[in-house]
Amino acid sequence: DVKVTQSSRYLVKRTGEKVFLECVQDMDHENMFWYRQDPGLGLRLIYFSYDVKMKEKGDIPEGYSVSREKKERFSLILESASTNQTSMYLCASSFLGGRAATNEKLFFGSGTQLSVL
């Protein structure tokens, strides 16, 4: 089974700290995504990557950056954490379009609940 692993289930940080959220997948997926989940707002895409060292902004990239140095790892960085970044962060991965398309889906990690105090 595909595994998408997020390094922390819960994280508490102080305002102004630099925060790293790590995500690793073990299925050689090209695509990786970072979402933010807030009550009543659903999932919002922060950043995604379709290849090593490639990144694309999603719908709410402000205050975030990402790094993809290796295919299996996609990191989300909060350069200076703020209280409005308190949220659940979900990582996901998938094959690039056209491959195994009939069975295509996103595979998700278990999420990191980040609290910024």
Partner: protein, 116 residues
């Protein structure tokens, strides 16, 4: 731009009952993909069911089935013989294609409680 709307923020049903979760979407595309994802209390989202727009037949997966009405842009999820383990947040999602530039778009979710 495509949008996905789930009009029921929260629902509760008794165990063994049938429940239907609503989803509507807006697109000008003719071919696309629709999904229902489940997020249980463990938080890991899993795919429940998917539908390709070019297929007229409604997708089914065991107790889960969809009512796909393309003209009405409606994609509801029916859960038959509901079980306590069905308690979860359910997200409807739309995707134009699996090409690099097309991203999946999620609705805001419906929280479903199955009562014993």
């Amino acid at each position: 731009a495509q949008t996905v709307t789930q009009s029921q923020p929260e629902m509760s049903v008794q165990e063994a009952e049938t429940v239907t979760l609503s989803c509507t979407y807006d697109t000008s595309e003719n071919n696309y993909y629709l999904f229902w994802y489940k997020q249980p209390p463990s938080r890991q989202m899993i795919l429940v069911i998917r539908q390709e727009a070019y297929k007229q037949q409604n997708a089914t997966e065991n107790r889960f089935s969809v009512n796909f009405q393309k003209a009405a842009k409606s994609f509801s999820l029916k859960i038959s013989d509901s079980q306590l383990g069905d308690t979860a947040m359910y997200f409807c999602a739309f995707m134009k294609s699996f090409n690099r530039d097309d991203k999946i778009i999620f609705g805001k979710g419906t929280r479903l409680h199955i009562l014993p």
